[in-house]
């Protein structure tokens, strides 16, 4: 019988991916750090029950992260991110022809479902197949939903130009 696989053997890239997902979901900051910390506490607890035949370590961690967020009742836009939008006043920046809105603040304006998809794809770097597995969906449906989420992100992320 072989030794059990350790899903947390190379933790640093996993921590970064989990954090990025959480931050896209609830906003960058202390709460995202708390949630990420809790994700890894749970992961450590269930570390040796991980089955590599069922899922990749990052998919397994994402399932834990989703569970932690659900337990905390998080799924709405972060007030911190909304604050960041208010601060991004085009007139405040001299010499700039185009004011770029903060990307994360734009993400925060999306619906919970869109942020979920954006977080899984661009934060956690999951493939459409892995996202589909996690959301119990089909990869094609995930691709379509992601494409729509990105389109909505584009529509939120409009800025004024002084041209």
């Amino acid at each position: 019988m072989g030794r059990k696989a350790d899903p947390l053997g190379d933790p640093a890239p996993l921590i970064r991916r989990v954090y990025a997902y959480v931050a896209y979901r609830i906003g960058d900051g202390p709460e995202a750090e708390d949630v990420s910390s809790e994700v890894f506490e749970r992961a450590i607890r269930y570390r040796w029950s991980y089955n590599p035949d069922k899922a990749a370590p990052i998919t397994w961690l994402m399932a834990i992260a989703r569970s932690v967020l659900a337990d905390r009742g998080r799924g709405h836009a972060s007030p911190v991110a909304e604050e960041a939008i208010d601060l991004a006043d085009p007139l405040d920046v001299e010499g700039e022809s185009v004011q770029r809105l903060d990307l994360q603040a734009a993400v925060a304006q999306l619906s919970g479902r869109d942020r979920e998809l954006i977080g899984l794809r661009y934060g956690a770097d999951l493939t459409a197949a892995q996202i589909a597995e996690l959301l119990e969906s089909e990869p094609h449906a995930v691709e379509v939903s992601l494409s729509r989420a990105v389109s909505r992100l584009r529509s939120f992320a409009t800025v004024s130009s002084d041209l």
Binding site: P11, A20, D28, E33, R100, V150, L153
Partner: protein, 110 residues
């Protein structure tokens, strides 16, 4: 109106930016979690060693009791002898008297 990703200087797509500018954890969080993982690994290894030691001791006890039972049987056991028919003529230790299909207990090894 311009989109924020379309600044005129940078033609990168929004998807590239979503990846490139994804939020990162603080060094403190990275250190804390990797520290917890390392501690857990050490505890597991220590626990594993303890379990192995307990298993070895238990296996030794089982083996020893097996040998003890065999020796007890070889020594005449509970009076029926090691051949089970009461003759007890093989392996009966000195001090045990045989007769009438039974071995009389004369010493503690009988």
């Amino acid at each position: 109106m311009r989109r924020f990703w379309d600044s005129g200087q940078d033609h990168g797509d929004i998807e590239v930016r979503l990846r490139a500018e994804r939020p990162g954890p603080s060094q403190d969080l990275l250190d804390r979690i990797t520290g917890q993982l390392a501690d857990d690994g050490k505890q597991r290894r220590a626990l594993s060693k303890t379990r192995k030691s307990v298993a070895v001791v238990f296996a030794s006890l089982v083996l020893m009791s097996g040998f003890g039972a065999a020796a007890f049987g070889a020594a005449g056991g509970n009076g029926n002898g090691n051949n089970g028919n009461g003759n007890g003529n093989s392996g009966t230790p000195a001090g045990c008297v045989e007769g009438q299909g039974q071995v009389t207990l004369q010493n503690p090894n009988c």
